[in-house]
Amino acid sequence: MSATEAAPTAGLVDCDVHHLPRSGGEIVEYLPREWREFVQRTDGGTIPLKPPLKFFDHPDGVNWRLDAVPAEGGPPGSDYELLQEQLLDPYAVQTVHLNWGSSSGMPNGELAAALCRAENDWCAERWLAALDDDRLVAAVAVPMTRPDDGAAEIRRVGANSRFVSALLHYQPFGRPLGHPIYHEIYEAAAEQELPIFLHVNAGEHYAATGPLLAGGSAPNYRFEVFMTIHQPTATHLTSMIVHGVFERYPGLKVLVAEDGLAWLPGFAAVLDSNAALMRRESRWVRRRPSDYFREHVFLATQPCESATNSGASLVEHLSLFEGIERMLCFSSDYPHWDSDTVSFVRGVFPPAWHAGLFHDNARRVLRLP
């Protein structure tokens, strides 16, 4: 192990880490009384508090690092001590971007909005305030069913400086994210200087939203899902460019997590190739589409597409997009099964990119102090 590999990365920002409640009951406590009664079952349990996932589970039936299961019970990501022991301390993480946000895709949109508010309050109180650890920052879970609700929640929660992004994890209208129906969400995010955080697309892996992949309604294997996982995000970013989101809100940025990296150079070339066509249908496309990517879009690195410890072919391909090294932000996706470690990522990317991807780029996208 070389000296650089052993040394901690000063100021490290991890852009994608999941924190969960020990049980749904923790969130229920933060619901207003009428919704508490609504979710409570007569046998003492609750109705499901998360939307159903489309059916492409991991073949082992588990989506977590097995060593991240807390000994005292609860799901991985619910134990702060373990998070410190497995991630924060060994890698000297300075800032960790916590997010969860799955309840925004509940089919009952009013319940979804109540759960998002509860989750944000739970996060603010139980993680950000109670733990007294200023390494922890978090994403606002944004209700999506009524965009005015989403905008209001961004303003309410965004007042807390420890919330540093706005997670859009669901799109209820079957239309990509550039559609004007979403613009008031962007207006609120821009006003609060919060970036939009897309985590595995806009939640297309939940049952109640748009197609997960182009050309077929349901894949047969998780393998297929993982091969096509960037497709909805490509549609959304194209839509945001064509319908003027970045022209209307010039300070707005987007952080994309868990959709891979290698798709971007080729896709941006396709968009540039279609720029004239876009201008024929939209007055908002005023720059080359790839320039909107350079200025507004950031990619979290996990899972970086390097099947070996050498990232030579990935880096060579990414380098076809000028400025890509200013868009990459390290993420571990702890505590998921395919989590990337700092040392692995350090080996994949050239040293000249390290300062950007381990901290500087994250500071340009997240609302960090």
Binding site: P59, G216, P219, Y221, M227, P265, E281, E305, S313
Partner: protein
């Protein structure tokens, strides 16, 4: 030059209706038999997105381009020195996805007969693809056998899965089985996710403009490749050759990188996938130039080929003529540099079921170079 993707079409739908049997002919009706041009039941699936400047290159004389063999020869074959052209249909490509599967089947059979009669017999340079009525896979296999015996049929073409499952799903197996038995290559064409009548669409939701759809359209095709690979179609038929038409080439490197990563993690799901991904590309997958990124993308494709020269061995020229984004021989020469001869000719010369030179003679196929 071998052009593996020509979008030929009829001048009037009546050309095709003439090949329907009397029952279906009466069912579909006759355009103009009612006032205002009415009287025929529309039978081609509609597209959600159309190019605001027209889906095809503009024709000054008002005659649709590529609508007669003689016209195609004068517009494309002669100026671009095309010695073999694979005809892939235009809107007719989507007939297999029409909502009534029985009408769809009857129309597809008529289209295939029209194609053999009007086109394949008309010019030695023209080769055909069986339009596969994939909504009824067993009937599609029978249609491939019926038309595939014609010596100038070189491929099978599929543009719309029609059943809401990507093409690797076992329900489509009879189609691939029939193609493999007849040694016909299978052309997968983009566009099936833009139809209004099929249970699929672009990932993430329906875009609002043609430009957005055009930008993500390659993914509808790449999904089919993912499906065919992961569901083991290429392993079940190890001599089967496929060709993707309309996705361009910029997606290829990221596809390879991602496949290697996902294979490492999830190969347990797909134990029949045994070869390294590059071996599938070498032996069973070609990508046509149609959909090639145009000048707005700068020199991206040339740079891509410099970094990954192996791509030059996987690409065949397909113009897509006369669609709005037709790729010319000059575009290919510009983008592919030293690989241009392979792309324009060599890579396609053994990929489709061209007639054997010994059987037909070079003269009989329009002076194709040996």
């Amino acid at each position: 030059v071998i052009d593996t993707a020509v979008h030929h079409r009829w001048q009037s739908e009546e050309e095709v209706l003439a090949y329907l049997d009397p029952g279906w002919r009466g069912y579909v009706g006759t355009p103009g038999s009612l006032p205002g041009g009415a009287g025929m039941r529309p039978w081609l699936p509609r597209l959600q997105y159309v190019n605001p400047e027209g889906d095809d290159l503009h024709a000054d004389d008002g005659v649709p381009r590529a609508s007669t063999p003689a016209g195609l020869a004068a517009e494309l074959l002669e100026p671009q020195l095309v010695e073999r052209a694979l005809l892939l249909f235009d809107r007719a490509l989507f007939a297999p996805a029409a909502p009534n599967p029985f009408l769809s089947l009857a129309m597809v059979r008529a289209i295939n007969d029209w194609n053999v009669d009007r086109w394949l017999e008309a010019d030695e340079r023209l080769y055909g693809a069986v339009l596969a009525p994939v909504q009824l896979p067993e009937e599609a296999a029978a249609e491939i056998e019926r038309i595939g015996s014609h010596p100038k049929v070189a491929a099978v073409v599929i543009a719309a899965p029609a059943l809401g499952k990507t093409l690797g799903h076992p329900v489509y197996d009879p189609v691939f089985r029939a193609a493999a038995e007849l040694e016909l290559s299978v052309v997968l064409h983009r566009g099936g996710d833009a139809l209004v009548d099929v249970p699929s669409g672009p990932a993430g939701g329906f875009p609002l403009t043609f430009a957005e759809y055009a930008s993500v359209a390659p993914y509808g095709l790449v999904s089919q490749l993912v499906s065919v690979l992961t569901n083991g179609v290429l392993d079940k038929y190890p001599r089967l050759r496929i060709c993707l038409v309309g996705a361009g080439v910029t997606w290829i490197p990221s596809f390879l990188l991602r496949f290697e990563l996902v294979y490492r993690a999830l190969r347990r799901e797909v134990p029949w996938v045994r070869k390294p991904i590059r071996a599938y590309f070498d032996e069973q997958i070609r990508i046509a130039t149609y959909g090639l990124e145009r000048p707005g993308a700068g020199e991206f494709v040339s740079r891509l080929i410099d970094v990954q020269p192996e791509i030059g061995a996987w690409v065949v020229h397909g113009s897509g003529y006369p669609s709005w984004d037709t790729v010319g021989v000059g575009d290919v020469e510009h983008a592919f540099g030293t690989a241009r001869a392979d792309v324009l000719h060599g890579n396609a010369s053994d990929w489709f079921r061209w007639p054997q030179p010994a059987r037909t003679g070079a003269a009989a196929v329009g002076g194709v170079r040996p």
